[in-house]
């Protein structure tokens, strides 16, 4: 959706035509849902969080200052809603030593991944993502799946651009370590 078109819809809603908001919901529902689903890994909960996101966005539409794209602003709401929900859960994720992360070579993992089927590759990728803490899953999905830029991720998460870059670099390496571990399990079984 073009930015001008979005702006018109937002103005229509603010002028007292709430029905126009449906166009924004239609445009962004799947993008928000896909992102949230990767974090909560439960369709019902993800749909609930996506609904909450749109309701919060509707109520706060008057405070949207057009300083960022509407999608960035919406993702920020989705991010905060998803993170506050997942904070209530306790999920066990494995921790990896900083030295291992820094010195890990991803080339061999890529070679190993190429040698297996695409279905297995995607399964391994999903397992590696699932093993990351929630905030790291969000960052990696925003960058590689939603293809948000560093500055946009910075606005969505409230982290500085430099911090986003450093964290993404580490998460990427952690992902490869996770995928290698999954590959090892696959070979053993």
């Amino acid at each position: 959706m073009k930015m001008n078109n979005e702006l018109n819809i937002i103005l229509q809603v603010l002028d007292g035509n709430p029905g126009s908001f449906a166009k924004l919901v239609d445009t962004y529902k799947n993008l928000v849902f896909s992102l949230v689903l990767k974090i909560v890994r439960n369709r019902e909960e993800a749909e609930e969080i996506t609904q909450d996101t749109f309701i919060k966005a509707y109520n706060a539409l008057g405070s949207f200052k057009h300083e960022s794209k509407f999608s960035t602003w919406l993702f920020r709401i989705a991010y905060n809603t998803a993170i506050s929900r997942t904070r209530k859960r306790t999920i066990t994720t494995s921790t990896i030593d900083e030295y291992v992360i820094e010195n890990f070579s991803i080339d061999s993992v890529q070679e190993n991944l190429v040698s297996i089927s695409e279905d297995e590759r995607l399964k391994i990728l999903n397992l590696a993502i699932a093993n990351l803490p929630d905030d790291e899953q969000l960052l990696i999905n925003l960058f590689y799946f939603n293809q948000q830029g560093i500055d946009e991720i910075s606005v969505i998460t409230g982290l500085s651009a430099s911090n986003v870059k450093v964290r993404l670099h580490r998460i990427r390496k952690k992902m490869y370590i996770g995928m290698q571990n999954q590959l090892n399990k696959l070979q053993i079984s």
Binding site: L14, T50, Q51, I55, A60, L113, K165, R172
Partner: protein
Amino acid sequence: MKEMEKFNNNELLRDPFLEKMFHKMPFESTSGNFTKQVMDQLGTNIEPIIEPEKYRRQMLWAYSSIGIGMLVIALMLFALWPFFEFNLSLSSTQILNFINTSLTVLRSITDFLSYLKGSTVQISIFFSLMLLFLVERLLRKGVSNNNSYLL
């Protein structure tokens, strides 16, 4: 710091292999009646959006109150500071006096600050200003949170 500099170039994060894998991940869709469900919830939602007209009325009211407050404080200051008592029917002597007075403004500010220390009236003026500033902040916050303290 070195680590930060290392990432100034975004290309370091580019990973075509990983990007390709992420692109192959299925794009999830919400249930068919998702939009209707959201719109139904909005229809019964308790918090309405602040309409621009309402927002303007609130801000007009807030700024009028602050303006009146500032005017009262200005009048009090004029009453307290003798050097502000000008006769506005202009003559060359008065213009010169005005220029001289203007040049002493900086000195007067310093005098005022030391006077402030010894005067409860001036301290109360200062706190009134601070209070007005806080009220203004509070009003702004109330408006942005869709809560009105005035209407």
